[in-house]
């Protein structure tokens, strides 16, 4: 087993990192140039430089909002993870429960969250409503993936467990959950991004109701005030948050599976 990558592989990897950066730099340069040459005012389209300066100037305000949004996202994600995996386990243990409730989980998923958010804001206190939105959007992929994972146990291994008289609990803890782990982690990876979306949607809905201080609220508020650079700056922070969440979850996925699951293995064998 040689761990050293060939020159070809190395060049491939360099290109995969370098090319997107080149594209980004080019895009930003053209953007900056067009704004300057055409002399476009910042309330129509701010140049990248202006956006960056706004980000620095408004950092105190924006970072506080970022924190609020991240907290909501994180809480929503945790609830979605617990709810999704928990429900999947319950469904797996009691078929009757699955038959009774699964259709409603699907309905909750297919109804656009933007349409549900205002309603939630009427019945729930604001923080709870925002959380509920993040949860509704994020929990379904966890539930669907975990359910799939719990059902895709190797049949021979299941036979082996029954041969040795394993209890239901042993089958769940020692066989079904480990088998489902790659699926669960896949669901969580999707849920991370979705809980951010849920939080943002709820904040915007709540913001129009007159309260809130998250990043999405900042975007809406800046929009009303025609503070376009701040809108862009807040949007940039949201994207960055999304990227960080995705890579954090990918890292957790890798750390949990690297020793045994095909998806986390390198190309070398």
């Amino acid at each position: 087993m040689t761990a050293r990558p060939s020159t070809h592989e190395r060049r491939d990897r360099t290109l995969r990192i370098a090319l997107p950066i080149v594209v980004l730099a080019l895009g930003l340069a053209i953007w900056e140039l067009v704004v300057r040459i055409e002399d476009i005012p910042p309330y129509v389209l701010p140049a990248p430089g202006v956006i960056l300066r706004t980000l620095v100037d408004d950092w105190v305000l924006l970072s506080q909002s970022l924190l609020v949004t991240l907290m909501t996202t994180f809480e929503g994600f945790l609830l979605a993870a617990a709810g999704g995996v928990g429900l999947a386990v319950l469904f797996n243990q009691w078929r009757i429960l699955e038959y009774s409730l699964y259709p409603y989980a699907v309905i909750l998923q297919v109804t656009p969250i933007v349409a549900i958010a205002p309603l939630l804001l009427i019945y729930l206190p604001q923080h709870a409503a925002v959380l509920a939105c993040a949860w509704i959007v994020a929990f379904f992929p966890v539930l669907a993936n975990s359910t799939l994972g719990l059902h895709s146990v190797d049949r021979n291994l299941a036979d082996l467990f029954s041969l040795y008289g394993a209890s239901r609990g042993q089958v769940l803890w020692r066989l079904k959950l480990p088998s489902a782990l790659p699926y669960i982690l896949g669901g969580l990876r999707i849920a991370g991004g979705l809980s951010l979306i849920g939080a943002v949607v709820a904040e915007i809905a709540a913001g129009s109701a007159g309260a809130g201080s998250g990043l999405a609220y900042r975007i809406a508020e800046s929009g009303y005030r025609l503070n376009i650079p701040r809108m862009f700056a807040a949007l940039l922070l949201l994207s960055l948050a999304g990227i960080v969440i995705f890579y954090l979850l990918s890292l957790i996925n890798y750390l949990a599976l690297r020793r045994w699951h095909e998806s986390a293995l390198g190309a070398e064998r």
């Binding site: 291994l157 082996l160 041969l163 040795y164 008289g165 480990p178 782990l181 045994w260």
Partner: protein, 259 residues
């Protein structure tokens, strides 16, 4: 004088819900310490028979009788089962895979670590106790699977074409190791295979099965002495047994009707 059978199938039939008749009127007696091979074409129900003996599948007719020393249900730990694939838990180390049967039993009187160490020693994998299944070769994975089946010191070891997926060199090596373990442990083995050569090399009795529906066609005693080794594999005696088994198998296949 022949000892009482350890396990006996009496008129066992199995019809799947789909209507397929996998077995009909299967009679088979296995005495303690025997090495019995079930040989037959694919679809003759030999794996189904094995699953019925293991209690993983219920016969629709007939019965499985155990000698009084072993009642079938509490005998779970007295049966070891080796599947066609190694069927290891990919998330667990070799050690944890092998100790699984003991842990599922929750038998505190057994020193699990000691047992696992001994059985890993026996299959020659002590060095790999902390490795994960994916880090092992196909042959080594099968050894882990055998170690796991042996860790409860079963009276009856059921093997379902365990070496079918391995290359011939690995297969010969595992055949030899299996025979050595069988002799050392004095256990009883029922070995399902579709290889004439393997069945003759390993077993003291080859039970040839016919298909549609699965049943015992005939039996063939391989009364060559153990220990058997490379010399036996190249002996005229072995060749003669193989020829005989091949002929019987051909007859069995004719009787079962080509699909």
């Amino acid at each position: 004088m022949q000892s009482a059978p350890l396990v006996a199938l009496r008129g066992v039939g199995k019809e799947f819900p789909s209507g397929t008749r996998a077995l009909a009127g299967l009679d088979l007696e296995v005495r303690p310490g025997e090495f019995v091979a079930l040989l037959g074409p694919s679809g003759c129900g030999k794996s189904t028979a094995l699953r019925i003996i293991a209690g993983l599948s219920e016969p629709t007719e007939g019965a499985v009788q155990w000698s009084s020393a072993t009642a079938p249900r509490q005998s779970a730990s007295r049966i070891g089962f080796v599947f066609q694939e190694p069927t290891l838990m990919p998330w667990a180390s070799v050690f944890n895979n092998v100790s699984l049967p003991i842990e599922l039993k929750g038998a505190p009187e057994i020193n699990a670590a000691e047992r696992v160490r001994a059985v890993l020693d026996r299959v020659g994998l002590s060095v790999f106790r902390d490795a994960y299944p994916r880090e092992l070769s196909g042959g080594m994975r099968m050894r882990v699977s055998i170690a796991r089946a042996l860790v409860t010191e079963p009276q009856l070891l059921l093997m379902d074409e365990p070496f079918a997926a391995l290359d011939e060199i690995t297969r010969f090596k595992l055949n030899d190791d299996l025979l050595r373990m069988w002799q050392a442990l004095r256990t009883t083995v029922i070995f399902v295979t579709h290889s004439v050569f393997e069945s003759v090399y390993l077993s003291s009795r080859v039970v040839v099965m016919a298909a549609r529906p699965g049943r015992v066609f005939t039996e063939l005693a391989v009364n060559a002495p153990y220990p058997r080794d490379r010399n036996f594999r190249t002996s005229p005696e072995y060749a003669a047994f193989c020829r005989r088994a091949s002929e019987v198998l051909a007859q069995a296949m004719a009787a079962g009707g080509e699909p």
